[in-house]
């Protein structure tokens, strides 16, 4: 996945997980994991690093769920044209 750093930087993200893309006007909500992924992407972290950071931050049942979460999230970003 290729996130679009400029577009990601412009996103307005609230603590409650509400995201507004000022370029397209799209809005969407993310859960706590999604919020963490989004913030890490804004910082320019790689996907591997993001998964590792999430492992540290959340109490998780297993690696597979987390990798799937990140994958699913990337699909959503692509839908929103925030990544290619």
């Amino acid at each position: 996945m290729n996130p679009d750093p400029a577009r990601l930087r412009d996103l307005a993200i609230s603590d409650s997980g509400f995201v507004f893309d000022p370029f397209t006007g799209y809005t969407f909500t993310v859960n706590a994991t999604g919020l963490a992924i989004l913030q890490a992407l804004k910082e320019g972290l790689s996907l591997d690093l993001i998964v590792r950071r999430l492992q540290d931050s959340f109490e998780l049942e297993g690696d597979e769920d987390l990798a799937r979460d990140v994958d699913e999230f990337c699909v959503r970003l692509r839908d929103q044209k925030l990544a290619r």
Binding site: A12, S14, S16, G17, F18, F20, T27, T29
Partner: protein
């Protein structure tokens, strides 16, 4: 009289181009000098216009869709009560009523009061059952039938004649002039509201609407009669005026007596053009969207419902409403920053009260 300080939950905040009554009910309560309670707006979308009406609500909550089941709704109302307080619930959508009547006892145990019809009265007021009301000689109802397949249309056409009125089980009605149009309308209403669909004999006349409240013992608490003056392209009233026709009010009272109706309702009446005879063409088991007109004309029916739910006294008889009071609906753009929408989208709940920093 001591001011009311109860927290009132009001559904139907979607005051769109075809508005639900919730915003009008909330405005009616705000209109009343002795109402000092909290208003909790309830809706099904974070963009419901009522959520953005400045100074109208104290808090708002997005309800789970009816498809999530009535347990999910009850659980959500419990959360609303814990978060904002909830002493009275005034549902304003036909589609919510059955679910809420189904857990009325649970609500009562939680201290959430309602003032609603019995399930039996609700059934008897439905479009499918309406013709049976004519067993009471004081209530005339146009001949009609509920049907579940388009095959029934030719026979219904023969019996009731064309033009014919085809109605959805909850909302909507089309005047059709041919069998083909009737079939088309049938499929449209099945797709929108499900089965059954109702065919009603067409009556040439002038429509009047009565908003009223019954006490559940057969008495009418108050009633306001109105004639629509302007319609939208969809045929919905966009303007209307209160009228002084005692027969109309007597007819609404008779419907309430017959059904021992408890709570709000709207009786839609046709006055036959040639004879002046009044016929009940529909009963809506809730306030109409134009109910703020009642408060504006001096008979605040939503306020009485909240009083009755709380067991508080109401004026008997209700004050006479001012005849010749007009309502003219307007659409206005409310400006908001993203915060309200963002919080409602992400959390489903919002409090509009200014938070005092500790």
């Amino acid at each position: 009289m001591k001011p009311i300080t109860a927290a009132v939950g009001i559904t139907g905040m979607n005051a769109t181009d075809n508005p639900a009554p919730g915003v009008a009910v909330a405005r009616s309560l705000r209109h009343e000098p002795t109402f000092a309670g909290k208003l909790i707006g309830l809706g099904y979308s974070a963009l419901d216009p009522g959520f953005y009406a400045e100074g109208l609500l104290d808090a708002a909550s997005v309800l789970p869709f009816p498809s999530a089941g009535k347990d999910a709704l009850l659980q959500h109302l419990r959360t609303v009560q814990e978060t904002f307080g909830l002493d009275v619930l005034v549902p304003n959508l036909d589609s919510e009523l059955r679910a809420i009547l189904g857990f009325e006892r649970e609500l009562n145990e939680l201290g959430i009061r309602t003032f609603l019809p019995s399930m039996e009265a609700l059934e008897r007021s439905s479009k499918a059952q309406l013709p049976k009301l004519a067993a009471n000689p004081k209530i005339r109802v146009p001949d009609s039938d509920a049907f579940v397949t388009a095959d029934a249309i030719p026979k219904l056409g023969q019996r009731l004649g064309f033009p014919l009125v085809i109605k959805g089980v909850y909302y909507g009605g089309d005047i059709v002039h041919t069998e083909a149009d009737a079939v088309f309308a049938f499929h449209k209403y099945v797709a929108t509201w499900g089965l059954p669909v109702i065919a009603q004999r067409y009556i040439a006349g002038e429509e009047y609407n009565v908003a009223a409240v019954g006490d559940g013992h057969g008495n009418t608490v108050g009633a306001v009669a109105m004639r629509k003056m302007a319609l939208t392209d969809k045929g919905k009233g966009w303007s209307g005026v209160t009228v002084d026709n005692p027969e109309l009010l007597t007819l609404a009272e008779e419907v309430i007596r017959e059904l021992r109706w408890r709570g709000p309702l709207e009786v839609e009446v046709l006055r036959e053009h040639d004879t002046g005879v009044l016929e009940v063409i529909e009963i809506n088991p809730r306030f109409p969207a134009w109910i703020y007109l009642a408060a504006g004309a001096g008979q605040n029916l939503p306020y009485y419902v909240v009083c009755l739910a709380l067991g508080l006294p109401i004026p008997k008889p209700a004050p006479r409403y001012r005849v010749g009071t007009l309502f003219v609906r307007i659409s206005l753009d409310q400006i908001s920053q993203l915060e309200t929408y963002g919080q409602l989208s992400a959390t489903g709940n919002i409090s509009y009260e200014k938070k005092v920093q500790p």
